[in-house]
């Protein structure tokens, strides 16, 4: 029989249903079949036999992470929390996060914050024009590689949530790295208590991207995160010279719209590829202010209103009609 990961779905459920607890200080790396030093069975599982950490894990305090109530208290002044997810990298999560932030902020009564949990490749500082809060802000040299394993990244995300004075805020947007791993699990377990409005899933039209995005939606379902909807980014490109529209990343399987239908979640809209969005991001400017007349801008505004509606807000109060 061909080998396969038959045990995967169960262990996923296990990881998600085990709320994050304090990990004890280990004296050796976790072995391959480690149940996780935070888990109920830490130090007692079959694979713990012979592990140098066994005694430490077995005697570690069990129960939920005592920091979670602290985090919940810290975030109590924030009205809405939205995650920006995508299984795939480079589809425009950070760009969309910063655009969403700029759009929410056009209502002068709204205050908006962004938390960038992409520890290895943070883009938000550059896009918001504050190249100098993410881990990026803590690096001595902006090109330094952050070569961290999972537990260290979880620690930092916790610190972000626990130690940052978030204060009163209308919206907190949480940008995430590609994939379905440590950062996603941590954000989910830390924010669960304080309540998340939901997740916006970003994709590009081609099947290679949709494949990974499908996994992310599967993750959201398993983790009990509400999916507000799918945004299709880089959808079509209009030649600036002859205005001919080309599908650069072809939707051979129907793109984001078909995926939304297949997974029975709202489709929030398609945003065309406009090189000026990238340029505005490179310079840390707001695309809405720089190119208000562009088709991409109109499409984005539509998407922002739909995000608002899915959150149960009035589209008008999120982003007034022009």
């Amino acid at each position: 029989m061909a080998p396969s990961l038959e045990e995967a779905p169960e262990s996923v459920q296990d990881i998600i249903s085990n709320p994050l607890k304090v990990a004890p200080k280990l004296v050796a790396p976790e072995p391959e079949h480690c149940p996780g030093p935070e888990s109920e069975t830490a130090g007692q599982a079959d694979s713990c036999a012979g592990c140098p950490n066994q005694a430490i894990c077995a005697s570690a305090p069990k129960g939920p992470d005592p920091d979670i109530p602290v985090i919940t208290a810290r975030l109590s002044g924030i009205k809405h929390k939205v995650l920006i997810l995508s299984g795939k990298g480079g589809v425009g999560k950070s760009t969309f996060t910063s655009l969403l932030a700029h759009a929410f902020a056009t209502n002068p009564e709204s205050t908006v914050g962004i938390m960038d949990t992409d520890i290895c490749g943070p883009s938000i500082p550059k896009m918001m024009g504050v190249e100098a809060e993410t881990i990026h802000f803590m690096l001595p040299n902006r090109d330094d590689a952050v070569i961290w394993r999972g537990p260290k990244k979880n620690g930092l995300i916790k610190q972000f949530l626990k130690d940052v004075e978030w204060g009163d805020m209308d919206f907190l947007l949480v940008d995430t790295p590609p994939g379905t791993s440590d950062e996603h699990l941590s954000v989910n377990s830390f924010l669960k208590e304080s309540g998340v409005d939901g997740a916006v899933v970003v994709t590009t039209p081609q099947e290679v991207a949709l494949l990974d995005v499908r996994k992310e939606i599967d993750f959201c379902r398993k983790a009990g995160i509400k999916v507000l909807g799918i945004v299709e980014n880089m959808s079509g490109f209009v030649c600036p010279k002859c205005t001919h529209e080309s599908q650069i990343f072809q939707a051979t399987t129907g793109g984001g719209r078909a995926l939304a239908k297949e997974m029975n979640i709202p489709f929030l809209g398609a945003v065309p590829l406009d090189p000026r969005i990238g340029m505005a991001s490179d310079y840390g400017e707001s695309f809405f202010d720089a190119w208000p007349e562009s088709p991409a801008c109109a499409a984005l505004k539509g998407v922002v209103r739909r995000v608002g509606e899915e959150m149960g807000l009035k589209a008008e109060s999120v982003l007034p009609e022009d």
């Binding site: 080998p3 990961l5 030649c239 010279k241 072809q250 590829l273």
Partner: protein, 310 residues
């Protein structure tokens, strides 16, 4: 160990996601195969494996043999046409359903990467290309550690680093270059992907994601710039549907008219039964990759001196 008969190991890295690591890996593999080398691809992107899709072998399964896993064959070698064999290994082949999320924390990912490096029966290979997820975390650390411990001296040829031209991407990719410095991985060179899109209607080239960032970055880090690869929707169609690439008469690639070997019959929608590697020769990107691949071969096989990052 399973890597014993592999001559050269080449990593394909990028700090940034979605820049085309997997499509660059695919095309390097096809070009190396067209140059007569036997090639294996190991996809260590565990949460988002793309290699099975790109080769159109998503439903393939890995075979368990005594002593390890047999990778999935893409095509066999064909000495008369000077085409080398190509096979792949990816977590995608181990999943029950293609949409299943792989929700793993670090230690489990580390163990899987290690297993991929030790338990796959590659056999004799000229090149093993390792496609990686974005970032510099568990998978990468595990890869670097395992190779450092298990690879033969000189076996790890180095890394091809992929970027797109815009500053937001190069900012992340610079981190990857620093990762290579810290872990002692030689950088073979930088490839700039998605550099420009040629409108099929008016042939105007638009730099959709700006241009030149990759070359500037390579210069800044004093590493070889292997070349820029434009966006070619025909390549996407080729891998997604198996349709043979067709270009309008007068299409220029690198300033040269691009000639399709098989003449200009435009009946491209007809299912073309040839192998992907053969159809790829009709893709405009194949001539660009021929040059990139030659450069890579020259550096790896020591015909030119590679550049170390100071």
């Amino acid at each position: 160990m399973s890597l014993d008969k592999v001559k050269h190991i080449v990593l394909v890295l990028s700090g940034k996601g979605g820049v085309g690591k997997s499509s660059i890996t695919t095309q390097l593999a096809l070009s190396l195969s067209l140059a007569g080398s036997s090639v294996g691809i190991l996809d260590i992107d565990l949460t988002g494996p793309s290699i099975p899709r790109l080769f159109g072998i998503e439903s393939a399964k890995v075979t368990q043999a005594p002593g390890g896993w047999i990778p999935v064959p893409v095509h066999a070698s064909n000495p008369s046409a000077n085409i080398g064999s190509l096979s792949c290994m990816s977590l995608g082949f181990l999943l029950r359903e293609r949409g299943d999320a792989v929700v793993w924390r670090g230690p489990k990912k580390t163990a899987m990467v290690r297993q991929f490096l030790t338990d796959v029966l590659w056999g004799e290979l000229d090149y093993l290309l390792i496609d990686t997820p974005p970032g510099t975390s568990d998978e990468h650390i595990s890869l670097a550690e395992t190779l450092l411990k298990n690879a033969l001296p000189g076996q790890v040829a180095g890394a091809v680093v992929v970027t797109t031209p815009q500053a937001v991407a190069t900012a992340d990719v610079k981190k990857e270059l620093n990762f290579c410095v810290k872990t002692g991985i030689n950088v073979i060179g930088v490839v700039e992907n998605m550099s420009g899109f040629v409108c099929p209607n008016c042939s105007e080239c638009t730099n959709v994601f700006s241009k030149g960032g990759g070359e500037v970055m390579a210069r800044e880090f004093n590493v070889r710039f292997l070349g820029s690869v434009p966006i070619d929707p025909q390549f996407v169609m080729l891998v997604e549907t198996g349709r043979r690439p067709v270009y309008p008469v007068g299409t220029l690639v690198n300033g040269q008219p691009f000639n399709v070997q098989n003449g200009g019959d435009l009946a491209a929608d007809v299912k073309d039964p040839r192998l992907l590697v053969e159809k790829y020769k009709d893709c405009s990107l194949s001539s660009i990759f021929k040059d990139i691949t030659n450069d890579v071969i020259n550096v790896v096989e020591g015909r030119v001196v590679g550049t170390a990052i100071a």
